[in-house]
């Protein structure tokens, strides 16, 4: 602590004081202009509440939404990784058709706002997909069973499963375009000599890709991939617009019901920050442990 203090120049202190004053002025101005009765004491109940019926603490709106956000992020993260790797490999394929198809898919998704992609997918495609695979009645059947604990653990309320799946797929589709570009960069960064060496010991193209190229490429692109995963978590807020019951959607509901606009949104921001920041710390640590 003392060492850090000693490193600071007197100008740094001036800067810190100036920033402090700026924040204070902004705060006073907001407080003056804002006619608002804060009700922070109501918020904890919407995270965890005591259930008289079960005699236990149970999650309420905000925590439920937070858990759904985590679920969606994990599933669509995995799906986006799979699609992205396929896309990245196709982008450097020797076959022109495959390359062009991959390029079309990528440019299409990358140059359209996510909200438009989401609406198109949700209103036009997902209903047909869900009807064709009969997902809805299947999910409802499970939600009616007694011992659906394991399903509920992985997917939440099974009656909302079709919406959840649509959300996961659309988010994965959208993010896969970016994952694909990251993977492509990784593949192209592998030295040409590695390709030649693999071929010279008699490996086929698939073996070469799987044993030689991909392991080296993946190692190189892990940091940007981790970063993309954090972006995915933040992007997941958009799918609240197609009524997936995640954190942002639950917050909108809470605000509409109780008019606690600022408390609810600040709490939600804290939830997102907590998740994304701890993940970024975790990734940084993993990265460091690998290097040394």
């Amino acid at each position: 602590m003392r060492k850090t203090l000693k490193k600071l120049h007197w100008l740094d202190f001036v800067l810190i004081v100036l920033i402090g004053v700026f924040i204070a002025v902004v705060w006073v101005r907001i407080d003056g202009a804002l006619n608002y009765k804060w009700r922070w004491d109501r918020i904890p109940n919407y995270i965890l509440r005591w259930s008289e019926k079960d005699g236990a603490w149970v999650s309420n709106l905000l925590l439920q939404g937070f858990i759904t956000t985590i679920r969606i992020s994990i599933y669509s993260g995995i799906l986006a990784l799979i699609l992205g790797v396929i896309l990245g490999i196709s982008r450097v394929s020797n076959n022109l058709t495959v390359r062009m198809l991959a390029r079309t898919y990528l440019e299409f998704l990358r140059n359209i706002p996510p909200i438009v992609v989401i609406f198109i997918f949700y209103f036009f495609l997902s209903e047909q997909l869900i009807a064709a695979l009969n997902i809805e009645s299947w999910a409802r059947g499970i939600s009616r069973q007694e011992d659906n604990g394991i399903w509920t653990f992985f997917f939440g309320d099974m009656r909302r499963f079709p919406a959840l799946i649509s959300g996961v797929i659309v988010l994965a589709l959208f993010e896969s375009a970016f994952v694909g570009e990251i993977v492509r960069a990784g593949l192209q960064s592998v030295d040409k000599g590695q390709h030649e060496a693999a071929l010279s010991i008699g490996m086929g193209p698939l073996n070469k890709l799987w044993f030689i190229i991909l392991p080296q490429a993946v190692q190189k692109v892990l940091p940007p991939l981790a970063n993309q995963f954090i972006t995915l978590i933040k992007d997941s807020a958009i799918i609240s617009l197609i009524s997936v019951q995640e954190l942002t959607f639950k917050t909108v509901e809470l605000v509409a019901s109780t008019r606690m606009i600022f408390e609810a949104w600040i709490t939600t921001a804290a939830f997102y920050f907590l998740l994304c920041f701890s993940l970024s710390l975790l990734f940084r640590r993993l990265e460091r442990s690998k290097k040394y």
Partner: protein
């Protein structure tokens, strides 16, 4: 010559085929209409899926995170009378009509007022509620205003986009400025902050807000302004659904059930403790 004769023969055959086919196709259409009806789908599925958007006091989350409100009572009674289960699908207000049209649920019961524009996309039942709307004003900014004074270009209203209050404001105060928000709380907050003169909402919300912020907000008029009415919305081309919903609403008006529930949620305050209102 030969060709024309053959063509003539083909045309004759076509007419004959059409003459045979048309009556059967009319019958088939009738069958198809009734079997395509959302009422049949609901019965087959054993579940009615109702789309709604949180809108106090039509529908809201209580302290336990469960849905309560006027719509919920209506939806549950409707399902009970049909002998099916009920499933409420909370949907964002922006996407509620596209979601209905693309089949995400069977019917919207969400305090949706009938407008000609919406009616071009979806069908409406007879009204199941006539919400009494009143003005919630910023006291300092509207000091000494009569009802006519609100209808001026320098007066600003705030309301939730596409909801009944917005329609009523546009009809009652065509000269005034109207700021639209996605959500009701934001509209009230604008009035509180002095960015808008007034908003409109269904009672008892304005009275509750005026009590909570008694030094800033007030309800200047004791009378309520009647809206055109709120209806169920469902997909087009479904006469069976129209018949069913209209009759259900008619029967429940006649029995007084709708009015009784309406009074409970829109006149009374008994439910206020269940929601973190104060």
């Amino acid at each position: 010559m030969k060709l024309t004769r053959r063509l003539f023969g083909a045309a004759l055959g076509l007419v004959a085929a059409a003459a045979i086919a048309l009556p059967t196709s009319a019958q088939q259409t009738r069958q198809a209409v009734s079997s395509d009806s959302v009422i049949e789908t609901i019965k087959e599925r054993g579940v009615i899926k109702i789309g709604l958007s949180i809108f106090k006091p039509w529908s809201m989350r209580d302290l336990e995170g469960e849905l309560i409100g006027f719509e919920l009572d209506v939806g549950r009674k409707l399902a009970e009378d049909m002998g099916v289960e009920v499933e409420f699908i909370p949907t964002s207000w922006d996407g509620i009509i596209p979601a209905l049209v693309s089949g995400k649920f069977d019917v919207i019961i969400s305090g949706m007022s009938i407008t000609a524009q919406r009616n071009l996309t979806v069908n409406f039942s007879d009204p199941y509620a006539y919400s009494g709307m009143t003005v919630l004003a910023n006291t300092a900014m509207t000091n000494g205003f009569t009802l006519e004074d609100y209808n001026k270009p320098e007066v600003t209203f705030a309301a939730r986009r596409g909801a009944t209050p917005a329609t009523v404001i546009a009809a009652m105060f065509p000269e005034a400025n109207l700021l639209l928000f996605d959500e009701d709380g934001a509209a009230t907050q604008e009035v509180l902050n002095g960015n808008a003169h007034a908003t409109m909402a269904s009672e008892p919300t304005p009275s509750t807000e005026a009590r909570r912020y008694s030094d800033t907000l007030s309800v200047p008029f004791s009378q309520t302004f009647l809206a055109t009415g709120e209806s169920f919305a469902y997909r087009k081309g479904d006469p069976d659904a129209s018949n069913f919903f209209n009759n259900w609403i008619g029967v429940n008006w006649a029995s007084g059930w709708l009015e009784e529930r309406n009074d409970y949620w829109f006149r009374g305050q008994e439910w206020a403790d269940k929601v973190a209102a104060e």
